[in-house]
């Protein structure tokens, strides 16, 4: 039984998007420990600052508290989780059993990801799984929800897991021309909402969105644009030069440089504060520009290991109070 037959999942995120609100989601990284208090503290920082919060799944292939376990703690704190699930660590049996548990624990949003390769993380000698890819995971969840069957075809005889199904999109990765088609593939597989990679190059993203609109994809799935604050010029440079699928224009790197230029190195804290301030400013400007692009249904604010940043950005971008209802 679903919570509300009019909705696919009945999650707050789904209801807000369906009602046409411009939504804001945040992100929470679970700890590399069994300390549930860390989740509670981060959840308190994010509560009231966004509509729902992504809980990462062993992000960058580093072992952390599980996204579903952390999501259960978030619900206790009154924060709606968007549980991330990667294809790297589980086969189709483990995925389906985890989906049943996540639903039973009250989770209603799920983001399907391929997962960072284990060579980037702290267990590079691990065996990866990739039994399914992210598209096949979306397809499996749709079958469980809409056809009430497991992937093998066996019926789910009583309660089926009803998730609002999300997928990621990277508008800047190669081959660039194929990216809108890959999004189309995810939407056709059944993705209800999309969260994009961090966007710093609005012009290139607008070009991507023009093609997405031509294909009518913005009318079939809600697209949330990814935004995150740059914290230091070094981070901006690293993202520009080293992270595949990431585009940071030189002008933004220059702005980060300029923000700390007049502050001597010894005044470390003051310089960090100036950089963060500039990073926040840039993020707020990006949100204002992204909102103007037709087909953008909200923003996904990723403030990695700086959860306070989400609230500051949301406030300055005029997105508070949250959650909307």
């Amino acid at each position: 039984m679903s919570d509300n037959n009019a909705y696919k999942s009945g999650s707050r995120l789904e209801k807000l998007l369906r009602a046409g609100h411009f939504v804001a989601t945040g992100e929470l990284g679970p700890p590399q420990s069994a300390d549930g208090e860390v989740i509670r503290e981060k959840a308190r920082l994010l509560k009231g600052k966004c509509d729902a919060v992504n809980i990462t799944d062993n992000q960058t292939a580093i072992v952390r508290m599980s996204s579903i376990g952390s999501g259960a703690i978030c619900i206790q704190e009154g924060v709606e989780p968007i549980v991330q699930m990667t294809c790297r660590d589980r086969n189709r049996l483990a995925m389906q059993s985890d989906l049943l548990a996540a639903y039973a624990l009250g989770m209603r949003n799920l983001l399907c990801l391929t997962g960072d390769h284990q060579s980037f993380g702290n267990h590079p000698t691990a065996k990866n799984v990739h039994d399914l890819d992210s598209l096949q995971l979306i397809d499996m969840m749709v079958r469980m929800r809409d056809q009430k069957t497991f992937l093998c075809g066996d019926p789910i005889k009583t309660v089926e897991p009803r998730f609002f199904i999300g997928a990621a999109a990277n508008p800047f990765a190669d081959p660039f021309d194929f990216r809108p088609y890959r999004l189309a593939k995810k939407v056709a597989a059944g993705a209800d909402f999309i969260q994009t990679q961090l966007i710093y190059n609005v012009e290139k993203f607008a070009e991507y969105m023009r093609r997405v609109r031509e294909m009518g994809l913005h009318e079939r799935a809600y697209i949330l644009a990814g935004v995150g604050p740059l914290k230091t010029p070094g981070m901006a440079r690293y993202m520009r030069d080293k992270v595949p699928g990431m585009e940071v224009p030189d002008a933004l790197v220059e702005r980060m440089d300029a923000a700390g230029r007049d502050i001597p190195k010894e005044r470390k804290e003051a310089r960090n504060a100036a950089w963060r301030e500039e990073g926040i400013k840039i993020a707020v400007e990006l949100i204002e520009q992204l909102r103007q692009i037709e087909g953008v249904a909200g923003v996904h604010i990723m403030s990695i290991e700086w959860e306070e940043g989400v609230g500051i950005i949301a406030e300055r971008a005029g997105l508070l109070p949250r959650p909307l209802s």
């Binding site: 189709r92 890819d133 397809d139 499996m140 190669d174």
Partner: protein, 228 residues
């Protein structure tokens, strides 16, 4: 072909351990073509082991022999005497050759001198690349003849992931992104329709996941009544 790489000399010495009579067995097929375990490599390893043991002050006999293929009974049967006379056989064949020797000569102690690395090909002089994972269910017909199971770091069937940049894989800039190659070739061949076709969850039971595999061809079996 099967591509292998010789183990470090130290590791081979450790595998030989206290054995005094050592037989180095080369294989003249795949591993000879990739310069890892053929006749020449067997000779070189034998010399290296003799030198090393002499340096260690150990009196060991090291002999070598190379057969055309270690993975077929008929080629290894003639080794019976030499194997029986040895305390240990260092096989420079792939893992298949090692196990064929073990099955034929169950009383002998056989150790591998190679790491069997992958199924692949020599791309150019000195460079070998992986091309097949023997998944048992070939999909090259829908991926423009480029295998994402063997060549995509995440074995995606609906790629590319977000880590593809400038034709390279995020895992290592030396690696080509298989899905960029697939996209380019489908594009050139006017078959981009295949790129947007959803590939459902793969049946991995035909792969190693279904347990060790075996092919039985009824049409080729030597039935008793046909044996004479």
């Amino acid at each position: 072909m099967i591509v292998g790489e010789q183990k470090p000399l130290q590791e081979i010495k450790e595998l030989i351990g206290d054995a005094e009579k050592v037989l180095v067995a080369g294989c003249g097929t795949c591993v000879a073509v990739c310069f890892a375990g053929g006749e020449r490599e067997a000779e070189i390893l034998t010399s290296a082991l003799r030198l090393a043991f002499r340096g260690d002050g150990k009196a060991k006999e090291v002999e070598e022999v190379t057969v055309q293929r270690q993975c077929e009974w008929e080629y290894i049967d003639p080794l019976a005497e030499q194997v029986a006379a040895s305390d240990v056989v260092v096989s420079l064949a792939c893992g298949i050759g090692v196990q064929t020797l073990v099955e034929r000569f169950p009383e002998a102690w056989i150790v591998p001198g190679l790491n069997t690395t992958f199924l692949g090909m020599p791309q150019e002089q000195g460079i070998w690349v992986e091309r097949c994972q023997a998944c048992g269910n070939c999909i090259l017909g829908v991926t423009a003849g480029i295998c994402p199971i063997a060549r995509c770091s995440k074995q995606l069937l609906n790629g590319p992931c977000g880590g593809s940049q400038d034709g390279r894989c995020e895992v290592n800039p030396d690696m080509e992104c298989a899905w960029q190659l697939i996209y380019d070739r489908l594009s050139k061949m006017g078959r981009l329709d295949l790129m947007v076709t959803f590939q459902p969850a793969k049946d991995w039971s035909a792969s190693r996941d279904g347990g060790p595999r075996k092919i039985v061809r009824q049409d080729l079996l030597m039935l008793p009544e046909e044996g004479y």
